[in-house]
């Protein structure tokens, strides 16, 4: 995607809102780069792309992007995006959320958006914590890890995003990390192209809120940990549940051809209008 990297400049609001507000070494910018490369690769018209976010570190991503962008309320990005997609079914609508945004406060919207299988692409930057508020426990914080609101260690189980999305009816589910950028680029291309609800989880350890508290080293060490913790879907198939503990399975995890919501609703419209023409209502 070298060609696309050169084009990144065209997709940024470079004269408006830089430098960005993320901590040095943060992976959210890498995900943003991936999103740009995927859109550039697909040669989508910028006017026909919308990026919607909720609240949190990842919620700040849209402001830097030269698309139709909307920074909504905490947890509700998918519901806003659903309304926009119904109003403009032709538009490519990408939703960027953090783990707390998508799975805690927005958990209900997440499963119902998957259930409807509406043609949105959800990118969940999973940093295992609430970064913007300073490192509180999130639905994906691993059990036993420290957080400012779990000072004795997290006793909650963490949410398996991919399994949740698949079970709720999403068309495509994938996962990668901000270390495996080329893979992330390719997965995003696939996710945007896929009709229906697609979910891409991008694991990006927060070194400020999560890493320091848990003594996981400097950003470079944590990036190395991503490299070492991740295993491909293929390799994971050969591994036992015990071996997979604490590992990140990366790659395309689920893909299915399922009826898409805006297309189904277009049929509802056709049906209702046919009845009107027949004079039955």
């Amino acid at each position: 995607m070298r060609r696309e990297t050169h084009k990144a400049y065209e997709y940024l609001r470079h004269d408006k809102r830089f430098p960005n507000m993320w901590c040095a070494g943060c992976g959210i910018g890498i995900v943003m780069g991936s999103l740009i490369r995927a859109v550039a690769h697909l040669e989508l018209d910028k006017d026909e792309v919308a990026v919607i976010s909720g609240i949190g570190c990842t919620g700040r991503m849209p402001v830097y992007l030269d698309f139709n962008t909307m920074h909504t309320t905490h947890g509700r990005a998918l519901a806003f995006a659903t309304g926009l997609k119904m109003a403009r079914p032709g538009m490519t609508v990408i939703v960027v959320m953090g783990d707390g945004d998508a799975l805690a406060i927005g958990g209900n919207h997440f499963i119902h958006t998957a259930r409807r299988n509406i043609d949105l692409t959800a990118i969940i930057v999973n940093n295992l914590t609430y970064g913007m508020t300073g490192g509180q426990v999130s639905p994906t914080t691993p059990t036993g890890k420290l957080a400012t609101t779990a000072p004795y260690g997290n006793v909650d189980q963490s949410f398996p995003i991919a399994e949740l999305a698949k079970a709720a009816g999403a068309s495509l589910v994938a996962r990668s990390t901000v270390y495996h950028v080329t893979e992330l680029d390719k997965l995003l291309v696939k996710a945007i192209q896929k009709k229906g609800f697609s979910v891409v989880e991008a694991v990006s350890y927060c070194h400020t809120g999560y890493g320091r508290l848990n003594r996981l080293g400097r950003p470079v060490d944590m990036m190395r940990a991503l490299k070492e913790d991740a295993v491909t879907v293929k390799a994971a198939d050969e591994m036992s549940a015990d071996e997979l503990k604490g590992r990140i399975v990366r790659g395309l995890l689920h893909e299915a051809d399922l009826p898409e919501y805006t297309e189904l609703y277009a049929q509802v419209i056709a049906q209702a209008q046919a009845l009107v023409e027949e004079g039955q209502s």
């Binding site: 609001r13 139709n68 509700r76 659903t82 926009l84």
Partner: protein, 379 residues
């Protein structure tokens, strides 16, 4: 159109369709559900979209998303759902996204009396969302008014780029009346102003002479940013006081400078009245009956029926108070809008008639208050 027997909630749905509403996102709740049911049936016929969301928070969010896409959109709910919607109503006020929120009020707090009327959400309509924000709220008392005010709610929301709340109540929502709706050609429909400048010159939050900047739809080539943070004229987050303060002034100005346009009320027998009964919604029906009976008994009593609750139409009452008139305000709550009236005309000029037990205020209760009011004056 020929008269027909029509339900208040159905009239609301028909009014929305007549106003050009083409998106409804909602969640079932008594006593508003019929609005969603009519919209689910009628919207696809005109190429619109009905979607039942997973809760009221998602409903209002989807409505705002659709509105940003350029479609007139609304949701309908009742007290508990209205409470859930508050955060995103504030978002709509902050981001200046047109939308209509219908609240068919039932007795509260909490689950309250789901099938009984109230007017207990008047203050919530004004201040339910956190932070200072402008709002418009309208309240109908008949089925025909429900139709007209729903159209009006859309027109105001489009004209002023603001959320508009239609405060109905269970009585008006479920009541059926012989109703004659206006012919389509006679209905005034307002659409939001679109920018007519090239994208590079477009500022979605620009100060304009009319206080309301044009609102481009997503997908029309303008590629701008919308946020619930305080923002500059381009829509980008700001911490600058010289951008925050003018924004606050402008969004309040767009309502306060147009109060005369937004304020709707009806006066009857007010000229010679010593006492003016003030009411709105279903209570205005009892109030009118009480005033008629009082006048038959020779009492000089008038009626002001409010259709616009927010912004509170202070100017009417200042005028009437200057003429020495005194007021009886009847509402199905323990005193909400009467506080506003007291603020405008003074506490000792207002006698309230209140109940919040899910029962309508009767003409008899209002008559009693008129008698006491006048007895006190005569003393």
């Amino acid at each position: 159109m020929s008269p027909r027997l029509l339900q208040g909630n159905a009239a609301c749905a028909l009014g929305a369709l007549a106003a050009g509403c083409r998106f409804f996102g909602g969640y079932p709740i008594t006593p508003s559900t019929e609005i969603a049911e009519v919209m689910a049936r009628e919207l696809p016929k005109v190429g619109g979209t009905f979607i039942q969301m997973e809760d009221e928070i998602a409903s209002i969010a989807a409505v705002l998303g659709a509105s940003v896409g350029g479609i007139k959109a609304m949701t309908a709910t009742s007290g508990p759902g209205f409470s859930l919607m508050q955060e995103n109503i504030g978002y709509a006020a902050m981001a200046e996204i047109p939308c209509v929120i219908v609240n068919v009020q039932r007795a509260g707090p909490s689950t309250g009396l789901p099938t009984s009327p109230s007017q207990g959400d008047v203050m919530q309509a004004r201040w339910g969302s956190h932070g200072d924000h402008p709002i418009i709220a309208l309240s109908p008392s008949t089925v025909r008014e429900t139709f007209d005010l729903t159209v009006c709610a859309f027109n105001f929301s489009e004209k002023y780029r603001t959320p508009v709340i239609l405060l109905m109540d269970e009585v008006v929502g479920h009541m059926r009346e012989r109703t004659e709706l206006p012919v389509t050609e006679m209905i005034e429909v307002v659409d939001r102003i679109q920018p007519n400048v090239p994208p590079a010159w477009y500022f979605p939050y620009e100060e304009t002479s009319a206080d309301v900047p044009p609102f481009a739809s997503f997908g029309e080539g303008y590629r701008f940013h919308i946020t619930g943070l305080f923002h500059d004229r381009a829509g980008f987050p700001t911490l600058r006081l010289d951008e925050i303060q003018p924004w606050l002034e402008r969004v309040f100005n767009k309502i306060t400078r147009h109060v005369d346009d937004i304020t709707q009320f009806q006066e009857e027998w007010v000229d010679d009245a010593a006492t003016v009964v003030v009411a709105y919604g279903a209570t205005a029906r009892s109030a009118r009956e009480a005033v008629k009976i009082a006048r038959q008994g020779g009492r000089k009593v008038g009626l002001v029926k409010l259709l616009t609750l927010w912004p509170f139409p202070s100017q009417i009452f200042r005028r009437l108070a200057r003429q020495g008139k005194r007021f009886v305000m009847a509402e199905m709550n323990l005193g909400q809008l009467s506080l506003e009236l007291e603020r405008v005309v003074g506490r000792n000029r207002v006698r309230g008639v209140h109940r919040a037990d899910g029962q309508m205020i009767t003409p008899g209760q209002i008559l009693e208050a008129i008698r006491r009011r006048q007895a006190r004056v005569e003393l």
